[in-house]
Symmetry: C3
Subunit: 152 residues, 3 copies
Amino acid sequence: MTHKKLITGVRDTSFGENCLVADSVNIYEATFGNDCFIGPWVEVQARVVIGSRVRLQSHSLICEGMTIGDDTFIGHGVMTANSKYPKVGLKDWECLPPKIGSGVSIGSNATILPGVNIGDNSVIGAGCVVSKDVPKNSVVVSSSRMRFLEEQ
Amino acid sequence: MTHKKLITGVRDTSFGENCLVADSVNIYEATFGNDCFIGPWVEVQARVVIGSRVRLQSHSLICEGMTIGDDTFIGHGVMTANSKYPKVGLKDWECLPPKIGSGVSIGSNATILPGVNIGDNSVIGAGCVVSKDVPKNSVVVSSSRMRFLEEQ
Amino acid sequence: MTHKKLITGVRDTSFGENCLVADSVNIYEATFGNDCFIGPWVEVQARVVIGSRVRLQSHSLICEGMTIGDDTFIGHGVMTANSKYPKVGLKDWECLPPKIGSGVSIGSNATILPGVNIGDNSVIGAGCVVSKDVPKNSVVVSSSRMRFLEEQ
């Protein structure tokens, strides 16, 4: 058996002025403001609305239904989720997209869980799993520490 | 000096009926059942055997020798490992691929360590580092919490 | 409005002998020694200097200004950062690239924070957030554990 190919690229998406988008992305049915940057291997799914001067760094995923304000920085490898219990073949799952404000900075490899609101001007540390709402102007890091098994 | 190019794509792989595979993937010497979905920028390595109705979301990596059952969901950016101490140039390393059952759901950005078995119908939370076996029907999340450094 | 395209690939980069580079990468203004391997969907930014026999596995990001020694293994999905408080539009930010020694092994999905030094022959566990210096010959893992919410 052979397989069918899913063609990636930019489809049914609206960009404001002066956006720069890498040539290897998967973006569909989304809306961007002005002066956005979208790095390589970024996926932006349907019904996403993004403001102006937003940077989506390489390897990041913006899931269906999310909104992001203006002047927000999404680091490399940031993953976002909109389903609490994703199951194959589920028809009636509740879509709970995260919502990210303006002036936010999200560090690389952070994970943003379903339904979370991240307030304006917050800073999320790299590698942090964001499991509840973050009030505006907060600085949040992961509680996870380094554990040394062997050290000279 | 110039460099040699590694050509990515789909090579020496068997698909069942009705699989949908993104156009930017790296899959070699693997076997898939029917009705699988493989998103963009997914790598599936040699000797991987995957059942039917499995979804591999974007940016995920299924390492050499793994098996995955039927109806399993692998989230975005999930990484799997088969070597406890990967070293450059090592010839005789032990390949310990994880094994993932059927009906499993693995959240985005989770990391699955070498040799781990994940039982049927388990749910692994996003961002979780899975370092030991997960019995069937379990729900597992990361112990890591958010730590607020500044809050209004 | 339409958008401008950022063309990815290999640009203004020097390779030693016998390097193997995947056909879907984004590498610019970097320097590599001999016998390196660079997997698919890897980004290596400007002013990076990498030794010989280094492996950069798929989905990894080596940020601007980093140095990596010889014989070092960078796992899949490893993200590195060089800015403590990344902000959109910031002009005068301090670039604090991590520095990784020789013979190091970094597990998949690890995150390396700005300014961190990782000493020779250290091993960093998969999924670990490396927030401070790692002396040579260390073995470091994440303190984060699995938390079982439901178990049979």
